[in-house]
Symmetry: D3
Subunit: 275 residues, 6 copies
């Protein structure tokens, strides 16, 4: 699995390629400068250290200073960080650093606003696997920065039995039992269901987590009551900032929302260079 | 520079990691099935072949059939493609394939709506370098699919002299002349300016392209008249779907809009499996 | 994370390097042959397909036929598989293929003998992370082939709170609660304890799994009784083929044994070539 | 060919993957500690610096101190090295570092006991290519640490003509002559033989080294006498710690033993952390 | 795209492989020394820092001192640089460092002599894509060091329409227009022509650069006159040091010469070690 | 160590980068064609299959036909190979394929002419390590194709004790004995000497190969006589096509010539496309 360092390298190669033909040809390598990154709208900042690493990947001696930490709310025109280094470094790293921080802060800002709409503090808001390919770890990090939680990282660190698994195995009970016998004793088993009989079957099969998929609010409450505390209750599908409040006090433990990541837009930050 | 194939590998490793512990443990490797990918809203499709490659990367014998081609408009509930292969392949590739196609179609859909707002067909709408790190080539592809054009790919294939370059070189004239003497005779030189005296200086220095940065519409028209056809005129900053029409007949050649990529949200597509 | 295919490539490069100077210089590339791999002692076979892939990595057209499947018991002198291909392929792949199959079968054979000594079929025998660096996935595969189960794959897919974690957090309760608040709702929490008060504290903190580390048999039984079925009971440390029977009926759910992998020796198989 | 540094990276990625979900979630990144690695049985130590590199790969500022050097005999409970660094580093690197040092010391310990059984100091004990795929360089290093010598590293740095080569070339003489004409003048040519007529043919063909494969002790002595000092005499197959003494004074130059590596078990070392 | 650092790694692995069996076995790792690199003929030096990086890649603490800078003329027997470090480092890096500097200086020396034969300083001498695979960036660097200019770096950063493109598109006009509509507005379009009617067509199609391929000197002058200054004029094919003077005052802007790189021979430099 | 396949990938990425902006924009992907590669001077061909692999790396279905085999003499204007595939493939692979074949045939042609000047067929002409970094294997292959032999591949597969090794060890005898005790019994030991006393010392130390470095012809003959057949005699330094004949009958076994590779120029071949 690639690391953040790998992704920074990929990004720099993608942008600089065989060379920055503007900067390399007219900027003296000895000139130094100071760059500041400024918020151009109200936002929740995320990715400060990654932006810093973009510059230190180009020039290990470059020095970054951060005026906020990831998760802080930042107002329009506030300076979030500063970089001191060669002018060439600042010019070459600018766009890539901004692209990282704009996307991550965009997600964190989006997540924060969902979190603020949810007033039942016993319910956990979690993300999904609907992330930009190559960005899973980073987007899940931004989700945490924004104040929500992570669902499983990928297909390898959590069991989620979906309708197609159930159909292929011949029912929820068989699927759960078959998995229980094979996976590590450290792994919980979650089953996705969309009606009450399935909730009951999952409960009897001793699923650890039951995901109520695209159910309406009344059905969700009924299912949660049925489950009692015998399994963790997760709700998924159709949740928006507008209707999330309806789940307060419903007995639900977890709400998973794909839009936390897939519908976030980049927020605006820019860099100014002071030579 | 990484290829699309590399990115697909990165994405699959990121999602599947050491193994899909649900599917690998309960789905018989011999069972085959058919998956269909369905639009869940009106959209411009992009990334069909990439989605196909996700599945054939897992199982080279899997067979994809496409019912549209990239750039086509698709209505809600239309089936865009189908994959035949092992059920394991369908289940493991589903999320990654959707993540690719949702992001790319999201950009293409966004771009198309900008293109439709611009009624002067002599003006070219182009993207910027505000793309997700690691996704530059793919996002620029989606921009073309949506009906717009690409600006330079990166720092290596086009010269763009910005304010910091100008300041460090001691003026537009020096910067342009110094670059002209160094870059290949196949490369055009673009200068970013924000007032009319700079437009004149860039013109005199024989810049090939002049970018009018964040000027108001009257100033843009004045600058375009001044330039005549002696340089390509690019406008950048502050352009929205709402105001883009104002540039019709302004004499501008190019409009670059970062929001084509950085503000696109993923559109909704899902996969259904028919065993 | 590297795949088995990557490891096969690493292994072939390590052995062949810039070229097999014996074979490449005197064996005509057109000559073909048939190689058979033969057990030279009684063993549980594991790694047949991996051995096959060694040869097909060198020559994609080589054809392997398997006379057993992984997990089968094989007697001395039985032929386990055959490869048809160029003689050069057989000679270059021989040692690498055997090195894979000898190590994996060595582990499977070792595991099988532990399994046979454990007569309480409700208890699961599991491995540990004491594996050869680079071989984690393969060794854990051989453990399953031998008839035992896998503990977590690595530090990323299961929580195990050890004494140093507890000390740094200020007690079991704090460590468990702090983790519960941070990890995914799909992850179980295991706590390592070495005395009864700690068992009680772990139980009260609602640990999902309690690992009894290096306790004697009486203490283990006492702890298991205490836990009832309120947590999974794992025993670790000091278990040998000789004393494993003592745990029958003890109420223990899981026994983890590092020796399954770290003390396995390679078993003997050889290849004969018939031109 | 991968380096030791590459293998350490592979090993850390394999164990830590996307993150140590226990440690990263509850151990403060600022807490530091001291870890000591202790022998839990009598052993010959090997891999101290590699274990150190595991920790410095995670945290370049971590400081290791070694109380022995590779090849030293260590008693039960002796401390072999100490690491000072962040507690997170110690916890994340512990298992991987131990897995390296336990395997390498296991081989060195095994080799040392063979060396001690061989009392003819003119005979060189050497290893074979029966090593764990990916570990060739490391295992051959541990063999030297244990007091024995290395045979060729792989197929690229030494010629060894085996029965299948001989059959395909039409005899020993043809094989040797054909190779002599093709390989570098810096490479010696070894021929594997299993009877006396073949010894004679190899001798006449001017083989530099003659390997007596699976011959009994009387035949070995006869062959050695026949060869005189006109070629190096290597013996291979069936040598154990018990019978190795029989070769003393036999005129043999080299004894190669696969069991030096393939039958070594890991020795026991553990790490204790003192915060 | 690989970097110079990557190529240095490739080169060191290629030469040292699993180890320098001479040096590693008999040179004490603690012995240090000083190496000097000496020109063994008159040459234009290129690659000094790259040679230095070869040594610091092996031993980061090695210290290099340069007595010239790339592009300087150096006489026979002059010392161009010195390296202080471990004797092992000097011995292992020697051949690789020399191989880099000998090739690059060979190109720079060759280029310099072409430049000296061209007495019309308004004409730019440029290279081609006839470079050693893997060495494009380095060879183009040596060309600049020698005093000439670079044509496009590859197929990605400049348009050059050749006869086969023209044939496939149905004529120069169609090819140019079709490309103009597709490539970025920052890219110039060059057309290769071999007769005057094609020159006229290219001119009318508004090609930015016209390459006169393998024309004789009279035809070149005629074409240049025809083009006026309406396009950049490039001449290619058949140019030698002997005939390059004939193009002085011909109105040509660019001369491209493949022999700058493909016919350069390595110049002679050697290293002496002073312990 | 990188393979030829890796180098082809590196070369294609270097030339094509993010895309061939000429071809990709105007050549229909469905158009196919036939390309022929033609010698533009008399040469010894080398690299035919590698050139073929360049095209099949781009398009696996492309079909190559070879009209010669590596090592054949080819006259001006003869067609050496043909490629059938998509026109895009031919245009994208052309320059890279030619760059490979021109360099390799350049070396083979150069080597052949040395071989023809040497009329003592008992003497072996060998290359050195003076090769283009990254091209060691390929250049050594071209040397064999041209009719000469290879010295060691790198520092890992042969021992060569040079003056600095000797100085650091305290004399030839100590260096040879120390190495004999450490390297594999399959490795020969070569010593570089430059005067007769050193020849004698090397002989007494039982060096397997003695390299006479930069000696004049009389001294060489004297040394060869002294050595008798007790060691292989290699001559190095100052050998040219003109003086190589003088070594006929001198008793020398091996002549190593760096100019075989480092002074070869690329020969001329071109590609014509027939659509």
């Amino acid at each position: 699995m690639h690391s953040v360092k790998d992704l920074i390298q990929i990004a720099l190669k993608e942008d600089i390629g065989p060379g920055d033909i503007t900067t390399d040809n007219i900027i003296d390598p000895e000139i130094t400068g100071r760059g500041i990154i400024v918020a151009k709208e109200k936002l929740v900042i995320a990715g400060l250290e990654i932006a810093g690493e973009v510059f230190t990947s180009i020039e290990p001696e470059a020095v970054c200073r951060f005026f906020f930490k990831d998760g802080d709310s930042v107002s329009n025109n506030q300076v979030v960080m500063q970089i001191e280094g060669r002018l060439r470094t600042l010019l070459k790293g600018e766009r890539t650093a901004l692209n990282f921080i704009q996307r991550l802060s965009g997600i964190a800002t989006n997540v924060r606003s969902y979190v603020e709409h949810l007033d039942d503090k016993k319910i956990r808001l979690v993300d999904t696997r609907k992330t930009i390919p190559g960005w899973r770890m980073l987007e899940k990090y931004a989700v945490r920065v924004g104040g929500a939680y992570n669902h499983r990282m990928g297909l390898y660190d959590g069991v989620l039995i979906k309708d197609n698994h159930i159909a292929a195995c011949g029912g929820i009970t068989k699927a759960v039992e078959s998995l229980r016998d094979k996976v590590s004793h450290l792994v919980k088993i979650e089953v996705e269901v969309s009606d009450l009989p399935s909730v009951k079957e999952a409960l009897q099969a001793k699923a650890d987590v039951i995901m109520l998929d695209n159910m309406d609010i009344d059905r969700i409450k009924e299912a949660a009551a049925l489950i009692g505390k015998k399994a963790v209750v997760e709700v998924s599908g159709g949740i928006t900032k507008e209707n999330i409040k309806l789940l307060s006090g419903s007995g639900v433990d977890i709400i998973s929302v794909g839009a936390l990541t897939h519908s976030a837009r980049s927020v605006d930050l820019s860099m100014r260079i002071i030579q």
